[in-house]
């Protein structure tokens, strides 16, 4: 799940809706999929562009923290798996930009908004990957948190987004398993490896909890997005589910979740746990996380350094079609 604090447009009561809007909401309530050429409220379209765009940006920025360890992967097999995983993420970015394009925004426009800071990507990718164990922690926790949100989004109301999610979820579950597999190897390894694994969990636990966004009581945009089935669950529901799933996995590894107040609550059938430091979350979102400048800087540099390459390809395509036109003309 790579969309946080997505601002939702408009929130009308049924009495305030136009007949068109009522018919649209009824279709959503009947779980019908909305397809690109069909009528949709402007707010629905804009909110989806923000959400899908942010998700796409997260996938491509998300290549960087893991790409950071490809050249240092400890075995050839690990290197190949990590390459395949990072490649999948670029592929997810591609599906999602395509899904966004069906809403009338181009990939270049979205990238421009990312590069200028107008659009965000998930806060999680602004944390550094310092050891090989972080490749395990990212797969296990970050992809694990993403799956929590993306599995329900397979049923989201917008057809192209829903279909992209179905493909993405298949790959994400492989990603999470490879992350956990790295953690298992590290935890069964030397004392230094186990210490690296614990350190990675210590650093990624709270940032992973932040991925779900602030508590619902502070989330102003949830209600409309949920009515439109762009958002399927509340932030707190998903966070709880993630903690409940992850704590036994940490125990199996013999690792300690860095939360002294973590405790099973029989009554609610879930764990009680500490909230992340939300001031840190808002600082990261505002651009002050440990790696914001590097991550965005790397993307902007890739884009700017690559301008000549993209221009060259466009120029060649124009020449080629001009030649083909001239050849047809000569043949006539």
């Amino acid at each position: 799940m790579y969309a946080q604090l997505v601002k939702s447009e408009g929130s009308k009561t049924r009495e305030e809706m136009t007949p068109e809007e009522i018919a649209f909401q009824d279709r959503i309530d009947r779980n019908e999929k909305i397809e690109p050429k069909e009528w949709m409220p402007e707010g629905y379209r804009k909110t989806l562009i923000r959400q899908i765009g942010q998700h796409a940006h997260s996938e491509i920025v998300g290549q960087l923290p893991e790409g950071n360890w490809i050249t240092r992967a400890p075995t050839l097999e690990r290197k190949a798996i990590l390459l395949a995983k990072v490649q999948d993420e670029a592929g997810h970015g591609l599906y999602l930009y395509c899904a966004a394009e069906t809403l009338g925004v181009s990939r270049d426009e979205l990238l421009e908004a990312l590069h200028s800071g107008k659009m965000k990507y998930s806060s999680i990718f602004n944390y550094p990957t310092l050891t090989w164990a972080d490749m395990g922690a990212v797969g296990w926790l970050v992809d694990g948190a993403a799956i929590m949100n993306q599995v329900p989004l397979q049923r989201t109301s917008y057809g192209p987004y829903s279909r992209a999610m179905i493909r993405i979820c298949k790959e994400e579950s492989f990603h999470q398993r490879q992350g956990y597999d790295i953690m298992m190897k590290m935890c069964a390894g030397t004392p230094e490896q186990k210490a690296m694994a614990q350190d990675a969990l210590n650093r990624f636990w709270y940032p992973a909890l932040m991925m779900f966004g602030p508590s619902d009581k502070d989330s102003v945009h949830s209600a409309q997005s949920m009515a439109w089935k762009i958002k399927m669950n509340t932030n707190d529901e998903l966070r709880q589910k993630f903690v409940d799933q992850t704590v036994p996995q940490a125990e199996y590894l013999g690792l300690t979740v860095p939360d002294p107040d973590l405790k099973w609550n029989e009554e609610k059938g879930g764990y009680d746990f500490s909230e992340p430091d939300w001031s840190e979350f808002f600082a990261v979102i505002a651009g002050n996380g440990p790696c914001n400048a590097e991550r965005l800087g790397a993307r902007v540099k890739a884009w700017e350094d690559g301008a000549w390459f993209r221009d060259g390809l466009m120029a060649h395509a124009a020449k080629a079609s001009e030649r083909a036109r001239a050849a047809r003309h000569a043949a006539e």
Binding site: P74, L76, E77, Q87, A90, E192
Partner: protein, 283 residues
């Protein structure tokens, strides 16, 4: 040369027999042991893939377009996969208990046998693409010839790799053409990339004693025998790309025999870091 001690070992089979008789060592050298030239050849194949795969993987997340990120990761993945096959076989033939990981992660630069071309820094995207094209055009000819190798294991790896490399070449040639015949700037950059890399292409076609032994055994072609086909591919692609073919001139060499550029040491420092810092750990 790390393989030297083996070359002077009189009779590995006899030594293995003695060791078994003493009940000490369970490890018997493979039947191929004592074929250091074959091992050298396999390392040359594997190291080219490993080092070029490393370089290509450096682009991950940094390339000029999302499609390129995907394509380059895919290509690096192919190359790492091929490297696992070649180095795996090298270790098996060598019979000293080293697997592909041991060869990749625990040899120092002087024991690497890749061409200098593949270890050169990525430069701009034009240098990366041109390097890929020049190598792919050689690689495909080598693999095609290896499909009829007298050693079935070599033929099998070559058959698998050839399919992948045919696609690498199709892609790199296509992009060289488009960028050569694109804008003034893309043309200039591709021509500059060619000038920079050209002196490193000659090494691909130099024959030495290892190559001669492989050719005599019917395992592999003489590299020099691949040059005519390479010349044709390169001339035709550069022509379509409106790029000028550089004059033949001075060529660097050494990689095949372990004398590398300064760049390889840094690649290995990065690649081998974890294996060196935590000896014996399982990952």
């Amino acid at each position: 040369m790390p393989s030297l001690p083996d070359m002077t070992t009189p009779n590995l089979d006899a030594l293995a027999g003695q060791a078994l008789a003493q009940g000490g060592h369970a490890q018997v050298p493979a039947p191929d042991a004592g074929q250091p030239q074959f091992v050298e050849f396999l390392q040359r194949m594997g190291d080219n893939c490993l080092i070029l795969g490393h370089r290509v993987s450096e682009w991950c997340g940094h390339s000029p377009a999302l499609e390129e990120d995907i394509a380059l990761a895919n290509q690096a993945l192919d190359l790492i996969g091929q490297c696992q096959l070649w180095l795996g076989l090298a270790g098996e033939v060598e019979g000293r208990g080293r697997d592909a990981d041991a060869l990749a992660y625990l040899r120092d630069a002087g024991a690497f046998r890749n061409l200098l071309l593949v270890e050169l820094p990525n430069g701009d995207f034009g240098v990366t693409l041109m390097r890929q094209f020049l190598f792919d055009a050689f690689h495909i000819e080598m693999l095609r010839a290896l499909r009829t190798s007298a050693d079935p294991r070599v033929a099998e790896i070559a058959a698998k790799a050839e399919k992948e490399v045919a696609y690498h070449l199709e892609r790199s040639a296509d992009l060289v053409i488009r960028l050569g015949d694109g804008t003034d700037e893309s043309h200039r950059r591709m021509q500059a990339a060619l000038a920079k890399l050209w002196p490193y292409t000659g090494e691909m076609f130099l024959d030495d004693a290892v190559d001669q032994a492989m050719a005599d055994a019917g395992v592999a072609p003489l590299p020099s025998a691949l040059k005519a086909a390479w010349d044709r591919t390169v001339a035709s692609v550069l022509d379509e790309a409106t790029l000028a073919l550089p004059a033949d001139g001075w060529h660097h060499k050494g990689g095949k025999n372990g004398i590398h550029t300064e760049h390889l040491g840094y690649i290995l420092a990065q690649m081998q870091f974890l294996q060196r810092a935590y000896p014996g750990a399982k990952w």
